[in-house]
Amino acid sequence: MAEPIKVPTMAEYMAQGKKPEVLFWVGCSGSFDDRAKKITKAFVKLLHEAKVDFAVLGTEESCTGDPAKRAGNEFLFQMQAATNIEVLNGYEIKKVVTACPHCFNTLKNEYPALGGNYEVMHHTTFLKSLLEEGRLKVEGGKFKGKRITFHDPCYLGRANNVYEAPRDLLRKLEVELVEMRKCKSNGLCCGAGGGQMFKEPEPGNKDVNIERTEQAMEVKPEIIAAGCPFCNTMMTDGVKGKNQEDKIEVMDVAEMIANAHDL
């Protein structure tokens, strides 16, 4: 049994009168979803590896309100935002990193007008900056030469124009990066956004994640790389739905880097 990983909280930092370099916003998926928790842990291992001085809010963190806002419940969103901003401002947070593009988008773009101004980074962009600062080494390891396609999360790519950071990291892993027919600004959604994650799809002839999985299968990848816990769930289900789970893995970019390091 491995040791539990060390995850300092803001409350602990505060008690010691310290401030971390960056706050890791874990998000609901990253905290509770069994699959997404693996991504969270992988990312934390990388933070330790790069000796990043970080902390989490732990039990003081709450949903950013993204699914509520996009489902039409602006009221609930703004309640969540007000509460979260109070906590974040209370700790005088300046810089936030998150592995969820939905949290990323909301914190970065929709909180400022409500009084929450932080430098917010998606974990792929953050990892890339660690790489550039020489704090983290990314090497191919077991992914070298593997055929990998990256599925753009809508709220990272189209919504915020971040397309290259995750791809740059994958290139550092020396993988064979192949692009799907629909990628980057033309990328197809996994089907989870706008509250769809929490409801049954409307009647149609196919589920969106199946359509997207089929697009991924066209380029015959060994791994579908993702950068969003919701996309990860949707694509994993899609791969299962197409009975491809023996051939295709769905992994977060952070997990791949951590695995390449044997962390």
């Binding site: 539990p4 509770f32 197809l188 196919k206 969106v208």
Partner: protein, 446 residues
């Protein structure tokens, strides 16, 4: 005889422009039915975006073939309109090719118009084939059945006829100049250069000058009357984009696509709720008007903002949004194009009521349910593909979101599973029913 033609022309011209002005004023009036929205910020950036996206057609060429053809038709439309200026002056003053004093420059202009006219004709024929013969997904949507499909074809026929008339007029004029016909032939020799319409000359062989004049005059008249008719057809058609694309792009959202607006009315409510000094039992101030609480979200066109309504008039129903929509691609009812078409149809219906009765009276209908179904709204993943796809800055997603806001905040009409997720967020800070106190448990697990 000549003076009658001039007077007739003047009447047609003034009537055409007057009717067009009336229609444009209706568009403006109807757009103003929407909520005010401030887009007066960053004029420089807005202008640059308009120059790039609307004038420069930068998003059209994302589909290279259709984009290329569209640029030809667009350039043709703009450049050939310089010739319309001359036609109007000739019409009013009874002159013949008044701008021909420009000499070589004039010949160059006429030659370019002719080449463009031919290219436009070819482009429009290919457009027609794409729409009616090939199986392009975005041209076979349900919402295109009936009038929208006919409308699209009428526009193409119109442009074909106008180009043919233009070339016929030039060809007959050229032949008349060659024949040395009175009024046409000028001392300077042949005016204008006719690289395309010269090939029509064999058709005019053996015709008398009188017949040629009839052909030339008929083509001239039909061409200019056709243009005036087309100008007035715009208001009834999806073709308004040729004018509205420019203001529409200028007024489009500049922030990143992922940033949705925070409803100010809600912010005020939330602030009040969180304010420890607020008196929850406070009575309205003495003498203050009984305040009607602002409606959250949109159930009808008047609840949308003015830019959203301008979006609806600007939409040219190309369907690039719908073709990119994940919900539409997987057989759901949602089509972002239909959202825009429905918004315009309802807005026109409201406008008609105002035309008849002077002001809007409740007609028992609204945009929600009578036009846009809940099933469409709930199929959206808010992925922004439709917004990204639109070549002229239309934002169907913002309308979908505003209508969802109405459904959730005014009608509490979210589906049970979605409502559960929201209750969970409210009670325990996550869309799933986990205790907030367990939020860090992952760190203790292996």
């Amino acid at each position: 005889m000549q003076i009658i033609a001039q007077v007739a022309f003047l009447i047609v011209l003034v009537a055409g422009i007057a009717f067009f002005t009336r229609n444009i004023r209706r568009v403006i009036r109807n757009v103003k039915l929407g909520r005010k929205i401030d887009r007066s910020d960053n004029p420089g950036e807005r202008f640059a975006k308009m120059a790039r996206v609307a004038m420069g057609q930068s998003k059209m060429v994302k589909k290279p073939f259709a984009g290329f053809l569209h640029i030809i038709v667009y350039l043709g439309f703009i450049i050939i309109n310089i010739e319309v200026l001359e036609i109007m002056i000739d019409g009013v003053f009874g002159t013949h090719r008044i701008l021909s004093f420009l000499g070589a420059g004039y010949n160059f202009l006429i030659a370019s118009f002719e080449i463009l006219a031919l290219l436009v004709l070819l482009g429009v024929i290919i457009f027609w084939l794409r729409r009616n013969v090939t199986n392009i997904y975005r041209f076979i949507g349900n919402e295109l059945k009936g009038w929208p499909k006919n409308d699209a074809n009428y526009i193409l026929y119109f442009e074909m006829v106008l180009m043919i008339l233009f070339l016929t007029m030039n060809g007959a004029d050229y032949q008349l100049q060659l024949n040395g016909a009175v009024h046409y032939a000028q001392n300077a020799g042949i005016v204008g250069s006719f690289p395309i319409s010269q090939f029509l000359l064999p058709l005019f062989e053996g015709l008398s000058n009188a017949t040629l004049i009839i052909i030339e005059r008929t083509a001239w008249w039909l061409h200019i009357v056709g243009i005036l008719f087309f100008l007035n057809y715009l208001y009834y058609s999806k073709h308004l984009h040729i004018l509205l694309a420019f203001p529409n792009v200028y007024l489009s959202k500049l922030t990143v696509p992922g940033q949705f607006d925070n409803l100010e009315a809600v912010t005020n409510e939330v602030k009040l709720m969180m304010d420890p000094d607020a008196d929850p039992y406070a009575l309205p101030a003495e003498g203050a008007d009984e305040e009607v609480p602002e409606k959250f979200g949109a159930s009808d066109v008047m609840d949308l903002n003015q830019v959203q309504l301008l979006n609806a008039y600007t939409c040219t129903e190309c369907g690039r949004c719908t073709a990119e929509c994940p919900a539409n691609q997987t057989g759901k009812k949602l089509s972002p194009r239909k959202i825009m078409m429905d918004t315009r149809d309802r807005l026109e219906e409201v406008g008609e009521i105002i035309n008849e009765k002077g002001s809007f009276e409740d007609d028992g209908k609204q945009l929600l349910d009578n036009y846009i179904l809940r099933e469409e709204l709930w199929a959206c993943t808010t992925c922004n593909a439709c917004v990204e796809a639109c070549p002229i800055g239309i934002d169907p997603l913002s309308i979908i979101l505003d209508m969802r806001r109405y459904l959730v905040m005014e009608e509490s009409a979210a589906s049970t599973d979605l409502a559960n997720a929201m209750t969970n967020i409210e009670n325990n800070g996550a869309p799933w029913p986990y205790n907030q106190m367990d939020r860090l448990n992952w760190a203790k697990e292996n």
